[in-house]
Amino acid sequence: MAYLELRGLEKSYVTPRGTTRVLGGVDLTLEDGDFVAIVGYSGSGKTTLVSLIAGLLRPDAGTIVLDGAPVTEPDPERGIVFQQYSLLPWMTVFENVALAVDAVNPALGRTERRRITDELIALVNLTPAAWKRPRELSGGMRQRVAVARGLATRPKLLLMDEPFSALDALTRATLQDELLRIWGERRSTVILVTNDVDEAILLADRIYPLTPGPGAVLGPAIDVGLSRPRERRHLSLSPAYQKARQGIVEFLRACRRGAA
């Protein structure tokens, strides 16, 4: 059995103005340690899919199994970096991360939990800002805190919902590089949701296109045949990069033409 298995996930939103069928049977299989990206247009249902895997929403149909156990509710074993930073504004950087560390390590002593929190903050290069509140931070710094918090529970699966889409291009590149480094240090299974094809290629092993809704499904995986560790500088020139990019873009274009 695979590490993570999504089978036939369906989800519709019922509103007074009618029913929106967002996901129409999503299947996905991941092995332990995979880093995959899901790429799709805005509004295609990426956040909905992430919320289902996180357990924040219940699917209308289909199953989610992680490491042999069915997913029915949220759990710290599935860490999540939300699309909006959603840091708690009344807490400092340290407290935001400590909330997660303390939640999953109730048995550890105070100093030990503190050490883990400090380590995470150092991992995302925020030690000098540890005692600042989110509103005193730049967008890039806030998202670093969110990444640290997502990693804080040592999740079996880390879900990242367009983590860098609100950042300017330069900051985004910096954070992508940092994510590459962090993932190199603490390998975990990651699903990165993004609308940025280049980001997906730079970071992921495999890329799944999400067809534009309604009734979105995942298209065939496209393997990113790039070796690790990756370096942004050499990437865009390599043939593997070009091939992956073309594959994704053409698939999504074809879906849109088909729908139109």
Binding site: G55, L56, P74, P76, S86, L88, W90, L99, A103, R133
Partner: protein
């Protein structure tokens, strides 16, 4: 230091407004309401109460500072009681749908009842004027706290709640770490409005119970035909109400930016 035009105006124009009110007051006291003391006469007859605010010539004749102190202590007690009841009530209303359905109609029903109606009831329940006054203040002043707290809880961003859900925080942790801090700005707006109401109610309740304080003094001086002291009381009530609101405004702003 040179003053900009804007700051000059900010100081000058309120003074102009004040002078205009004093002028209207003077004119009224000279024409249509000859029993109304003019500003000058009011000041003349009130001078001792203001300049020696803490003198005490007996229960019925005390400096305005002393009277204000009595009123403030009473308001403080009533206000704290209002917060002690209103805050948990507001959280319950915001958190539990069942609780909301059960108690919201009754709250909407109790809210518009005037202090004048609660006070006699308080006297019946407590048999003494002091607890009756505090009861009245609390019952009238707690509603903004209740309603704002409940609104604050309901307006918590789902993202923030999701953070707690993903971490599987216990109910208690969820309350302490997320729900309470997220609703604090609303709660403090409620507190500010409640304090304003408490101060409104104090005058009525002191008048009806004849307890010493600014309101009691006002009513006593009306009955003794010392009309200038009515005006002294009115000005004092306004000044303290204004100061309290500003004070709570500062507290509120602190929590808003936190």
């Amino acid at each position: 230091m040179t003053m900009t035009r804007a700051t000059t105006q900010r100081i000058l124009l309120p003074l102009v407004g004040l002078l205009a009110v004093l002028a209207v007051w003077t004119v009224i006291s000279q024409t249509i309401a000859r029993d109304l003391p003019s500003p000058a006469r009011t000041w003349d007859e009130s001078r001792r109460y203001v300049l020696e605010p803490f003198f005490k010539d007996g229960e019925m004749n005390q400096g305005i500072g002393r009277l204000a102190f009595y009123s403030l202590v009473r308001v403080g007690k009533g206000f704290l009681l209002a917060l002690a009841i209103g805050t948990p009530l507001g959280f319950l209303l915001g958190l539990s749908r069942a609780f909301h359905l059960a108690f919201d109609p009754i709250i909407q029903f109790l809210r518009p009842i005037s202090p004048l109606a609660w006070l006699p009831l308080g006297l019946v329940i407590f048999q003494k004027s002091e607890p009756a006054a505090i009861f009245t203040i609390a019952v009238c002043a707690m509603w903004p706290t209740v309603i704002n707290t409940a609104a604050g809880v309901r307006s918590i961003s789902p993202d923030h709640l999701n953070v707690g859900r993903v971490l599987k925080l216990s109910r208690w942790k969820m309350l302490v770490k997320i729900i309470v801090p997220a609703s604090l700005p609303y709660v403090f707006t409620g507190y500010r409005l409640s304090l304003g109401l408490a101060w409104l109610v104090i005058v009525a309740s002191e008048m009806l119970t004849g307890t010493p304080g600014v309101g009691g003094f006002l009513w006593q001086e009306y009955n003794s035909l010392v009309y200038s002291h009515i005006l002294l009381s009115v000005v004092t009530i306004g000044a303290i109400g204004f100061a309290l609101d500003r004070l709570m405004g500062v507290v509120e702003a602190r929590f808003r930016s936190a």
